[in-house]
Point group: C2
Chain length 425, copies 2
């Protein structure tokens, strides 16, 4: 019998030396190619030493299903050609909503393997090409098509089960879900690339205008709490989740340039080293051991912490997979930041706010920045890079010695989880 060691070191160091993010939003006239190209243009614009993309030796594309959204599979090849990179090998990686996180992991291993020094990891999803109801149906393909979807489940319903179980077991309540939403929308208002790049007050006003158009009687809301509490403004989607508990349908793309660490300073003065990475699978929710925690996240985190040689207490900033507000609460606990059931108290105390002790989702998260499925994991890495390199502008976390951060990308309801740990280089 061969002894297993699931907590290995990489054969050589890998650093992130540049990132690009396309504008997130709903863009009826843009294709997947247009949106991805925007992220590449942003990478080039931010490049300190005049990046020549022809130097890229290998690429990965995180994408959930351009097949279903746009009739285009084989996206690695198509996008490599579109940005002029043939014959560089490109490969599409799909792990549902964790596709971007998994693409980063493949990029890391491609460098560590010794085969490549300079690897581009992109993520992209064009989702508004179909009506929202069709997009939700497409997304249901991430769940179990034999045992969940035929029972009528789509993801709002699946995460509603998680929320209900968490509220039953712990002191979590609707107010805590709301606090995640308020926090992430605040952060999103400071991120010009976010789909909701506005304070919640402005979203309230949009909602008022929309209701007035429909001839509705408009309630008076004094603040965001009243707004989010009002079912006419924030209706139930799948009890106990309301509209503003759900990440939106988004068109968007992001990319990250990974290189062998010994080359990092040729690309930037502020590299970010990838010091830990873990990935795990979990059972589909219909067959899960518990509803209030994702085993895949706990396992992936333990791999990543072990590889990095640190523990959860040392993480200073995190981007987590808040496809629904409850998902951020579960992540806060599964990643070991807070004990099971304690995330709600941390939210009450504002500990994960932009200037709290452990800022979470400074980008606005999937909730406010938007959730172009295959891009989200890569966009998280991009946010971590900007924060650790001091380039996050008005949302820059004002911490002395901000050095270690984490990102977590989830596919389904814990079917896949990828956890990556970064250190300022």
């Amino acid at each position: 019998m061969i002894a297993l060691n699931r907590h290995r070191k990489l054969a050589r160091g890998v650093s992130m030396v540049g990132v690009g993010v396309a504008q997130f939003g709903a863009f009826p006239t843009k294709t997947t190619r247009d949106i991805f190209s925007e992220s590449i243009q942003d990478l080039l614009n931010r490049s300190e030493y005049g990046l020549n993309i022809g130097e890229i030796q290998c690429g990965y594309i995180g994408n959930f299903s351009a097949d279903r959204f746009e009739g285009q599979a084989h996206l690695g090849s198509i996008l490599a050609d579109w940005i002029g990179l043939t014959p560089t090998p490109f490969t599409r990686v799909e792990n549902g909503c964790a596709s971007g996180g998994s693409a980063i992991r493949e990029g890391v291993m491609a460098i560590a393997s010794g085969l490549y020094d300079i690897v581009l990891v992109g993520g992209v999803e064009k989702m508004t090409s179909v009506p929202t109801i069709q997009a939700i149906d497409n997304l249901a393909a991430v769940a179990d098509s034999l045992y969940e979807v035929p029972a009528g489940f789509t993801f709002p319903g699946i995460y509603a089960l998680v929320a209900k179980a968490h509220m039953d077991r712990y002191e979590t309540n609707l107010e805590h879900l709301m606090k995640v939403s308020i926090k992430n929308h605040h952060n999103g208002s400071l991120n010009p690339k976010a789909q909701f790049n506005m304070p919640l007050q402005d979203l309230m006003q949009q909602r008022i205008d929309w209701a007035k158009d429909k001839g509705a009687v408009i309630p008076h809301w004094n603040n965001e709490y009243e707004f989010l509490n009002d079912l006419s403004a924030n209706p139930w989607i799948a009890w106990p989740l309301k509209l503003f508990d759900c990440a939106p349908i988004t068109d968007g793309a992001a990319c990250a340039l990974l290189v062998s660490s010994d080359l990092a300073r040729n690309f930037t003065d502020t590299p970010v080293n990838i010091i830990g990475i873990g990935q795990a699978t979990g059972r589909p929710l219909h067959d899960a051991e518990e509803l209030t925690s994702f085993g895949a996240t706990r396992f992936a985190a333990s791999q990543a912490y072990n590889m990095a040689g640190i523990n959860a207490n040392q993480i200073q900033l995190a981007e987590v997979h808040d496809c629904f507000t409850i998902a951020e609460i579960v992540a806060m606990e599964d990643l070991g930041f807070f004990a099971p059931g304690e995330a709600s108290r941390a939210l009450d105390d504002g500990r994960t706010s932009l200037n709290g002790e452990l800022p979470i989702n400074t980008s606005g998260g999937l909730k406010a920045k938007g959730h172009p499925v295959g891009a989200s994991g890569v966009a998280q890495a991009a946010e971590v890079f900007l924060q650790l390199s001091g380039k996050a502008e008005s949302r820059q976390v004002q911490k002395k010695d901000l050095e270690i951060a984490l990102s977590q990308s989830v596919g389904g309801a814990g079917g896949t989880s990828v956890v990556t740990i970064y250190e300022r280089g």
Copy 2:
């Protein structure tokens, strides 16, 4: 400027120590999960030292589009759970019809990276869940959805262009295409897992019975040449390609167990080492520099030969991507086995037959074994393993010192090409 080296060595050696192949065919009652599980069962059945699949540390699934065929994305997680392997990380890899070949490459890099010692690479496609016309439409998503598909192209038409160009430029003719088909069907008749596990004579009989059912007047065919020449038996699909120039629509799966080479003898007495691997992208056909050769194959082959430190003349056996008969001819030339335009003469001389100097597609190839898209690249690796380890039974190549073999997996019409070189361990 950083010097590129695209012909690196792996940081550590990788060996293939076991394979599994599901029955290929059309199975209306089987799901993707059933078919994949069959390949795992075959891997276990063939295991010499009682493989414990719980030892697998990481997995890849080559799959083109269970999303479109079966409404199931996120297949890595779903299949890992189905075979009882949670929380082992699994990732789906999609590069069109090269998905299986690319999955092998990710498995190789995962081991070389130092992160994992024991990696399962699977490939699976369930295609008969939709009518054939819908399957062909699904497959068209591998081509360019903006510039080729709207013009009416599906893959028979795309490869017909390649065939026409090759026939115009060189001495290739319809007879040469037919010879690929006859050879591969002969090999397939010796492969019990093949979709067409029968001599072409039996296929002729099936075709006669089918035509009789339809009330047709049945011509008399004395042999396979007359059969393939008769348009009533072998009609045009897209001129100059006829029905028996096209690989079939297939349900099937295959898997391969890869391990760090220092562990190989714990699993088998006949390991096969992966000594070279290359992947490249090419432009879509509408924008290709030429039609008679795929640049991606030439580039991937040069990477693989360089890594292995060998040249094309040293290859003793090959599995190539014969989605259409013309694709085998193009591959024979792009891989450097024969000079451009010389593949047709090699076919005339029987040089690639089972007992020729360079047997090609001993498994029956995609043409006769079947082409379950995401599985094909992995099934090629499985055939190479069986041949190099002397376990290919009635189709075993009878060469002394059979040591070095190659497989080539193509996505689209050269959009992606993966070339892998193997050596008997």
